[in-house]
């Protein structure tokens, strides 16, 4: 089977482990897809995919989902190739461990979206909950590649321990942005609440608005023009035009987190 369209028929009534809704479905026949089980979370039951979704064909290497999928957790886990499109909100751990292909969510995602992302490109039109791009529980480092664009707002700890790749959040962020960041690039177009970049080791946090910095954790800001900023600006989506404009001019750069021996950096457009 080349492509699949799954339209939710009714609410499952329980929280479901939906990790099997992944690019591996492309390798299954229509009957196998219908019989694909989704385990209930916190219970011992399971529901077959065919009992919950109307299943149709879709273009090659496209998986399209539609409906209110807030009770479905882990959609797109390990996604490796092809296009995933979801129309509607999803539960936790959207595109967890994804390594390639593209994913588009026309809705919001709950906790731990894109955790341990390794590659590919994810676009989320709505908001995301806490721990965007964070590591799996117990892992030392989080997201290790790929690009995530969130058009809405993000919860706490976005980019927690991220190691590579790029996260672009066009809306606001709750506290803990870039906490213990290992490397990578974290861009926020809206306001970042609370302390930013605490205990960051390396990597770059780019802020479109002034934020809170600990004077003892980061160096005093220095004005500079960086060639790399221009290259980043050229890759930003159209919606991030204000950030792109900022990056093409002089920026203010802080280094830290000094308290953690870090060599990370935070860029802002103004000395604030």
């Amino acid at each position: 089977m080349n492509g699949l369209s799954l339209r939710l028929k009714h609410d499952p009534g329980v929280e479901l482990d939906a990790r099997s809704i992944s690019s591996e479905l492309f390798a299954l026949g229509r009957d196998e897809v219908r019989c694909c089980p989704l385990k209930t979370i916190g219970g011992r039951g399971m529901i077959l995919l065919g009992d919950l979704f109307d299943i149709d064909d879709a273009p090659t290497q496209h998986l399209q989902l539609a409906g209110d999928l807030r009770r479905f957790h882990g959609i797109g886990t390990g996604w490796s190739a092809g296009d995933l499109r979801v129309d509607g909100p999803v539960g936790d751990a959207f595109c967890s461990g994804m390594s390639g292909g593209t994913a588009t969510l026309a809705g919001s995602a709950r906790l731990r979206a894109c955790q341990q992302l390794r590659g590919g490109s994810v676009t989320i039109d709505g908001n995301v909950g806490d721990d965007l791009g964070a590591p799996y529980v117990g892992r030392v480092s989080g997201m290790s590649g790929g690009t995530v664009v969130v058009r809405g707002a993000a919860g706490r700890y976005a980019g927690f321990r991220m190691r590579r790749g790029t996260i672009i959040i066009l809306g606001d962020c709750e506290g803990g942005l870039g906490l213990e960041m290992v490397a990578g690039t974290l861009i926020v177009g809206g306001s970042a609440r609370g302390e930013v970049g605490a205990s960051m080791n390396r990597g770059t946090i780019i802020l479109g608005h002034p934020a809170e910095f600990s004077e003892i954790c980061f160096t005093r800001p220095r004005e500079c023009r960086l060639g790399i900023a221009r290259l980043i600006a050229d890759q930003l989506p159209e919606e991030a035009a204000s950030i792109a404009k900022m990056l093409r001019g002089p920026i203010w750069r802080r280094l830290g987190d000094l308290s953690a021996g870090g060599k990370g950096e935070i860029w802002t457009g103004v000395n604030a």
Binding site: G145, R164, G165, A183, T185, R202, T204, C224, R225, L226, G227, I228, R230, L231, I232, D234, Q235, R248, K263
Partner: protein, 308 residues
């Protein structure tokens, strides 16, 4: 005129006889880098250093020159720049020379940055080796699938793409301008190199695009594997066998390296036509090309085909 025709139909451009012979060229490895800087002065200073001592693989290890100037809107970081083409006999030598020149001539020059100018799977390291100069303070970013290294230096940071690519190419396309006087052959030479300069994918690596020391393979001295080509030294006329008469006073050779055989052939045609039209038969006794009997180089650029 004593250029010996090999066909009954004379080959002539703007009244200048063209010998029916061929230029013999070789397989080489090539790469392109994009060098940018804060302003045109620093671009030129750094580029001059990087392409310096890069005329011939015989002793320089590499043939390298500026391919063309780039406007700010043509460069990755929006600053003025140049595209530089480099050719070597092996990928290993190319890697070595590019890394050395990037390290000593670009990294050292204020405000510069260095980027890949070619895509491909076979890589030539740039920032991948230079990053260690950062002594632990270097950092990298992957943007659009390409890795860039940022090395802190005294004027800010040196931005250098991790790698560029290398491709198979052609080195040693050539033609010789046989002049009636030194002034006229230099005039013809200038016309040639000016005409070739804007062409994409080719360079003329010798000073001013031309050389007066065309060489033959081997020497009476065992240590040398190339020596002066006495058959084309007018000052030895009458002493050695030469394919021209005493009306030839001076000769210069235009050597062309190119990314493809087609680009080399096109550059040869453009260069020959420009020279012939500039000075005509009053300035040039003829045009010929250098070869080694066709036994050394795989690429043979026959002048009648190039000009056809």
């Amino acid at each position: 005129m004593t250029i010996r025709p090999t066909e009954s139909e004379p080959l002539v451009v703007a009244g200048v006889p063209i010998e029916r012979t061929f230029a013999e060229a070789f397989d080489m490895k090539a790469t392109r880098v994009i060098l940018t800087a804060h302003d045109r002065q620093w671009v030129s200073e750094s580029a001059a250093a990087m392409v310096g001592f890069g005329t011939s693989i015989i002793a320089c290890g590499i043939e390298i020159a500026v391919e063309r100037e780039l406007a700010p809107e043509e460069t990755p970081d929006g600053r003025p720049g140049v595209a530089i083409l480099a050719f070597a006999v092996s990928g290993k030598e190319l890697d070595k020379q590019i890394a050395r020149r990037a390290g000593q001539c670009v990294l050292t020059c204020p405000t510069t940055a260095l980027f890949a100018g070619l895509g491909g799977t076979t890589k030539v390291p740039l920032g991948k080796t230079l990053r260690y100069f950062g002594d632990g303070y270097q950092s990298s970013k992957v943007i659009g699938g390409r890795r860039y290294w940022r090395i802190p230096v005294m004027d800010g940071e040196f931005l250098c793409e991790a790698e560029t690519a290398r491709v198979d190419a052609v080195g040693g396309g050539n033609f010789l301008l046989l002049g009636r006087s030194l002034d006229r052959v230099l005039d013809a030479c200038r016309a040639s190199t000016e005409a070739i300069r804007p062409l994409a994918g080719v360079i003329t690596p010798f000073p001013g695009g031309a050389t007066r020391s065309g060489s033959k393979v081997g020497s009476k001295y065992k240590a040398l594997f190339a020596s002066t080509n006495e058959a084309y030294c007018p000052s030895l006329h009458g002493l050695v066998n030469q394919p021209f008469g005493d009306e030839v006073e001076a000769i210069v050779e235009i050597v062309i390296d190119g990314m493809t055989p087609q680009q080399v052939a096109h550059a040869m045609r453009v260069g020959i036509e420009a020279a012939c039209h500039r000075v005509g038969p009053a300035g040039l006794v003829g045009v010929t090309a250098g070869n080694y009997g066709g036994k050394l180089g795989r690429h043979h650029f026959h002048l009648e085909e190039v000009l056809g």
